[in-house]
């Protein structure tokens, strides 16, 4: 079962649009569709849920007279997604979860949020030393455990 890649990308761009400051593209433009397709390919039930959900979304668009989701105005796209969210909540919540997984693990997004694109290892991060006099009040209370 193959997902409609073009439709999927359009939907993803509506779910996570480009950031208002222009520093990050929307999820579809970023290529998050590949993460969704990979997940769908690994589990037949998931693939079926997403394929049918996307088809149902396209049907909603066609019933409004458009030639499909891609032909809708931006406002109508959002309305169609609200409709499918009501009609097929499992589809949209699953797609959202996969979209968030793909988007927020993507290197450009992580780099934009952290200010750099380097992985956590091998450089790591510095943590300043602590003033453990914060514990004075705890020490003053005495033992908490039960003798037995």
């Amino acid at each position: 079962m193959t997902l409609n890649t073009q439709l999927l990308a359009m939907v993803l761009d509506e779910l996570i649009p480009s950031r208002p400051d222009g520093l990050l593209p929307g999820a579809g433009s970023l290529g998050v569709g590949a993460v969704v397709e990979h997940a769908a390919g690994g589990t037949p039930e998931l693939g079926q849920l997403l394929t049918q959900g996307l088809a149902a979304l396209d049907d909603i668009a066609r019933r409004s007279g458009a030639e499909g989701f891609g032909a809708l105005s931006p406002t109508a796209r959002v309305a169609a997604l609200r409709d499918i969210e009501q009609a097929e909540p499992m589809f949209l919540s699953t797609l959202l979860m996969l979209a968030y997984v793909g988007y927020y693990s993507a290197e450009p997004v992580v780099a934009a949020l952290k200010g750099n694109a380097r992985p956590p290892h091998p450089l790591g991060y510095d943590l300043e030393s602590d003033d453990l006099s914060l514990l004075d009040a705890v020490r003053a209370r005495g033992k908490l455990y039960r003798e037995c």
């Binding site: 968030y100 992580v110 991060y125 209370r141 005495g142």
Partner: protein, 534 residues
């Protein structure tokens, strides 16, 4: 060809198997460990990649049902509100654990006497204390001596740093006058026994390429192997076999290319933890043991305990730099650890600070909370939570209930055709009351620390890390599976050294106690070698 009989066959190379292998090595016996997974190479860890979080949803997921590596077995946990988490490989689940390393308290071994629930353990804190201390040294535990929630103990390494996040939480505890302390953590905060120090990368839950985290593959195994222990990886044991005398005589397993093999042994040691050990015993049926090996009591698989978790997550106005530091280690509180009848439940829990969620995990936590909408408002909402979360986890003591159990699934199998475990588990009223109480108090402390908003997940779905109680220890063969030093009542050359022998769960992470027990049992075995089966 005559098959070689090993002296001791250990099944499972995780926290317990590693410790027992290392301890028994000085007997110079032929010790063989069979492990169904493999070594994880340091350069395979996701933390070396910028998109490392994606692995948490894939090949380094905590759930074997998500990870689906060839060495994993599926778990039917649809009958539980808490999903099972584990890792199959050298080091076992310590490869992916947070390295939070608290000991049990003296009261944890006396719950029947003190609180009138469950059973007392057949051993006590004092019996285990030398093995806790030995394990702390072997693992390289960081912390701060003097915690008033524990009897006096030494801590080998300086504590993990609190960071801005930890100091903020500490200020909340101080405001309310509640206990808190830097966590005991299996983290090398300075160079230790050839291991490089922690660099605060925060990727502990997908493994530590630095080697600073005290997973059993970098603590016990290198020493055990140098001492002569043989470790065969990618070898999956199907069943333990018994001879006509009712004693175990070895195992049948599948090797790395799937060929069925037999390995004879004088002694078999199980170290597959609370789900894997019960599964293997139940799958080891014979005319002498039609209900599974060592199961004449009918208790194998029963009394599964999981530690229900409540996550209360404070959202703060300012960035907390919470991505820095070991993710599960920093600050704990045991203000509510000991029983207070006025709270409406018996026993208690530990609060553990988690560092702020990284971007992907933070988004996934906020999504079902309705805090991260799709569409035009998405980015502003994300900016309001990113690096502004302070999760406070309550790890609640789970009391044993025979109805909570591991059985064999009738249809689901692993890739070798071995029946998968099936989990039947429900939260008790006591656990639910404890969870609710913990959320209310956590909300108070987070607000005292300055949180502007609170999110809650309870019980945490993916928190079935601690698998305990399914082959519990005791002196009465009718009411327990192993005796007070880990030997099966029914089969005197089979020992169990993992979390399945826990009588009760405590309100802390179990790995420190799992390994202390394994060392204690190994030490007892060595002291009784001349009459081990009497």
């Amino acid at each position: 060809m005559t098959e070689h009989t090993v002296d001791v066959l250990i099944i499972g190379a995780g926290a317990a198997g590693a410790a027992v292998a290392w301890s028994l090595a000085d007997t110079r016996m032929h010790i063989l460990c069979l492990e169904q997974g493999d070594w994880v190479r340091a350069d395979a860890y996701p933390g070396l990649r910028a998109n490392w979080e994606l692995s948490q949803a894939g090949d380094f997921a905590v759930s074997p049902n998500t990870r689906r590596r060839p060495e994993d077995y599926p778990v039917n946990d649809s009958g539980s509100p808490i999903s099972m988490s584990m890792f199959n490989g050298v080091g076992g689940s310590t490869v992916l654990y947070a390295a939070h390393f608290p000991r049990f308290h003296p009261s944890d071994f006396r719950v029947r006497t003190l609180d009138g629930v469950a059973e007392d353990w057949p051993i006590d804190y004092q019996r285990l204390e030398p093995f806790y201390a030995l394990n702390d040294r072997m693992t390289g535990v960081a912390g701060l001596a003097g915690d008033p929630a524990y009897p006096p103990k030494e801590v080998p390494l300086p504590p993990v740093r609190l960071g801005k996040l930890g100091r903020k939480l500490a200020s909340g505890f101080n405001e309310l006058g509640w206990h808190w302390w830097p966590s005991d953590s299996a983290i090398a905060t300075v160079e230790y026994e050839g291991r490089a120090p922690c660099i605060n990368a925060g990727t502990c839950l997908v493994g530590c390429p630095q080697g600073a985290k005290g997973s059993a593959d970098v603590t016990y195994w290198p020493v055990a192997l140098r001492a002569g222990v043989e470790l065969r990886t990618r070898c999956r044991v199907r069943e333990i076999t018994v001879g006509a005398d009712g004693m175990a005589d070895g195992v049948i397993y599948y090797d790395e290319i799937g060929v069925e093999r037999r390995q004879k042994a004088e002694v078999v040691v199980l170290a597959c933890n609370g789900v894997g050990t019960a599964r293997l015993l139940l799958n080891s049926r014979s005319p002498q043991f039609p209900d599974g090996l060592a199961n004449r009591s009918g208790l194998v698989g029963r009394n599964l305990m999981l530690h229900p978790y409540a996550a209360t997550i404070g959202i703060f106005d300012e960035p907390l730099q919470g991505y820095k530091g070991p993710v599960g280690c920093g600050v704990w509180s045991q203000e509510f650890y000991e029983t207070d009848p006025a709270r409406g439940f018996v026993r208690g829990f530990t609060y553990e600070m988690n560092r702020s969620f990284h971007p992907m995990f933070g988004a996934l936590i906020a999504l079902p909370q309705g805090r991260l909408p799709w569409g035009a408002a998405h980015h502003a909402a994300f900016a309001g939570i990113h690096d502004r979360t302070l999760p406070l986890l309550a790890i609640c003591e789970d009391l044993p209930d025979p109805a909570n159990r591991v059985t064999l699934d009738e249809r689901l199998t692993d890739s070798s055709g071995i029946p998968a475990p099936k989990i039947t588990y429900r939260l008790s009223e006591n656990s639910q009351s404890m969870l609710d109480f913990s959320i209310a108090r956590a909300t108070e402390v987070l607000q005292a620390a300055g949180a502007r908003d609170i999110m809650v997940e309870s019980p945490v779905k993916m928190a079935g890390w601690h698998l305990m109680g399914t082959a519990r220890m005791g002196t009465d063969p009718e009411r327990s599976v192993v005796n007070e030093w880990g030997r099966c009542h029914d089969v005197r050359n089979v020992f169990i050294v993992d979390g399945s022998i826990f009588v009760t769960a405590g309100g802390v992470n179990p790995t420190s106690t799992v390994q202390a027990l394994a060392l204690y049992i190994a030490d007892t075995m060595k002291n009784k070698l001349a009459n081990l089966f009497d």
